[in-house]
């Protein structure tokens, strides 16, 4: 009985062609008859075949490595012949003199690594950089926008003119398109901003805040009784946030006698004060105290008052208990609890006086008597409410 190794010797000789003719024919006959033997031969061939192929693969790999190494060496010589020569020189020199080595004209290992890193991650880094830049600009723009929306005023604090809600407008225009069949008469639009104003004289002068009418194309005054008048600014005082308007409508017959008077002096701390205004579609009352005799950042043209005011309150009258008008609501400070500011009435008086002195044919007949003194607050307000108006601003 032959061992497997014996068969392998036989196969080897058979493949090498060194088998005598008679043995070869016997083997071939047996291979044809015995599938197990044929299988064995096949395995032998696969094994030796793979071995040889493996050998060739290794040889080829060595060859390619050698070629590549050659190539690298050539390139190194081509790229840095000067550096090489310098290095050689230096080595000789160093041997001769024992000096410290000179810096070499060669790309350092770290730089090589950095370059490889750059090559590998360039795309990613570009993307990251552009995202960062976008983020920075978006933040800056956003901040700028936010600040602009927070502080639209010249005065450093939040002025209180009201932006009439956009939703309402779109809803209205939607309704209008839906009801187009009814062909309603064209209604005037509700205006972009609104504030509050009050009568200065009986013959049609009004006072409001400058920032309410800032940038206005046309102004509309609307009273409690929904009566509308067209008005025009006659004078503005930007520094004290004051504006004087005059009603230009021909149908306007005058307000009648004003129930309040204007205080020329300063009011005292702790005085009970209140205001009326149009932060909504309806007249709103609010009260509080006079908390400081200077305004934002120590501005002596203003009072600080502890009245909760809202956008739309701007330009409203500030009255004390006796029904004297002592100020005009201007704005509030966002980061301080209930700190609102009102222009002092003394400044309004000074403005009116100087305008009267300048002449120009107009005279301001300010009310001299006060009908409010001594009456209760609801009574005061009942009298007052006809002299406080919504100022609508169209841009």
């Amino acid at each position: 009985m032959k061992t497997e190794a014996d068969y392998y010797a036989l196969f080897d000789a058979y493949r090498a062609g060194t088998l005598p003719d008679d043995e070869r024919t016997t083997l071939e006959r047996r291979l044809a008859a015995d599938p197990e033997l044929a299988q064995r031969l096949q395995e032998f061939e696969e094994l030796t075949g793979t071995l040889t192929a493996y050998g060739r693969r290794l040889a080829l790999r060595r060859k390619l490595h050698a070629i590549h190494a050659d190539m690298d060496a050539e390139q190194a010589v081509r790229l840095t012949p000067l550096a090489k020569i310098a290095e050689e020189d230096e080595r000789h020199e160093r041997f001769a003199s024992g000096q410290a080595p000179r810096p070499m004209l060669r790309i350092s290992r770290t730089e090589e690594k950095l370059r490889a890193f750059w090559n590998g991650h360039r795309a990613t880094m570009m993307v990251a950089a552009s995202v960062a830049i976008m983020a920075v600009f978006a933040t800056l723009l956003g901040l700028e926008w936010w600040r602009a929306s927070q502080k639209p005023s010249l005065y450093g604090y939040t002025v209180l003119r009201r932006e009439v809600e956009r939703i309402k407008r779109t809803q209205r225009s939607m309704n209008r398109t839906l009801n187009q069949i009814e062909a309603q008469p064209e209604r005037s639009n509700p205006g972009k901003f609104s504030g509050t104003g009050f009568a200065l004289t009986a013959d049609g002068y009004l006072v409001t805040s400058y920032h309410v009418i800032q940038g206005a194309d046309s102004l509309l005054i609307e009273g409690r009784d929904r009566q509308r008048f067209r008005a025009e600014p006659v004078f503005t005082d930007v520094a004290h946030d004051l504006a004087i308007l005059q009603i230009k409508d021909k149908t306007f017959k005058g307000f009648g006698r004003l129930p309040y008077s204007f205080k020329r002096g300063q009011s005292d701390l702790g005085e009970k004060v209140y205001t009326l205004g149009y932060p909504r579609e309806d007249l709103v009352f609010n009260d509080g105290s006079l908390s400081a005799r200077s305004g934002f950042e120590g501005d002596t043209g203003f009072y600080q008052i502890s009245i909760p005011v809202n956008p739309g309150n701007s330009g409203g009258p500030l009255l004390d208990d006796k029904g004297n008008l002592i100020g005009i609501i201007s704005g509030r400070q966002m980061d301080v609890q209930s700190a609102a500011f009102a222009t002092k009435s003394s400044y309004l008086m000074r403005l009116v006086d100087s305008l009267g002195a300048a002449g120009a044919g107009q005279s301001y007949n300010l009310p001299r008597t006060n009908q409010l003194a001594g009456t209760s607050r609801p009574q005061q307000i009942r009298k007052l409410q006809d002299y406080v108006f919504v100022v609508k601003v169209y841009e």
Binding site: D12, L47, T48, Y54, A59, K63, N119, H121
Partner: protein, 194 residues
């Protein structure tokens, strides 16, 4: 390129490699390496990775030529590019969860390289198994078989090297080693297959 070296056309390259002309192989290797190196570096690879990928690609090409089974329907350059591109793509997906696009700077054509690569991969697996089997077979079988099959030493040389009394002894030893290798090789190879 080379100074004073002969330049080959694609057909001459194939013929020369079939003749086992090492100079032609070296020439071919040098000719196309910059292209692949550029490609790999462009696509977030390193110089070393470019070298590996290129060598693998050249090996596929070389073995196809040596087998005589190469049906070159395009330039060698395009073929190599296709093979290396495929190899690099595979490496990238293995290396990272790279889902990006590859920047091509050569026209990418259907070259049959894909099919060739599958054959080559199967072969790689086979050779890998062989390498493992050789690792595990132990001495002196390993040196003997490596000497005979991988380093092309003659039986006489090996007899002298291993101190056998005559060539027949050495041969017998070789056959015994082959039987052992066979067992290791086929058991592992089948293990892989299932």
């Amino acid at each position: 390129m080379g100074k004073g070296q002969p330049t080959y056309t694609d057909e001459e390259f194939v013929a020369a490699i079939r003749r086992d002309d090492d100079r032609a192989l070296a020439q071919l290797y040098r000719l196309h390496f910059p292209m692949i190196s550029h490609y790999v570096l462009q696509n977030s690879g390193t110089e070393d990775e470019a070298k590996d990928v290129y060598q693998e690609g050249v090996m596929v090409f070389y073995e196809k030529v040596r087998e005589g089974s190469l049906e070159l329907s395009c330039q060698i350059k395009t073929y190599l590019y296709a093979v290396c591109r495929r190899l690099w793509l595979k490496r990238l997906t293995e290396k990272t969860r790279y889902g990006g696009r590859l920047d091509d700077h050569e026209p990418y054509l259907e070259t049959g390289a894909e099919a060739d690569l599958e054959v080559a991969e199967e072969r790689d697996r086979q050779l890998g198994t062989m390498s493992q089997a050789l690792e595990r077979i132990g001495e002196p079988c390993r040196s003997l078989l490596e000497g005979f099959y991988l380093l092309d030493k003659s039986m006489q040389q090996l007899t002298a090297e291993f101190g056998y009394t005559n060539a027949d002894n050495a041969k017998n030893q070789k056959y015994k080693c082959l039987v052992r290798l066979k067992k290791l090789f086929f058991s592992q190879y089948q293990e892989h297959e299932t």
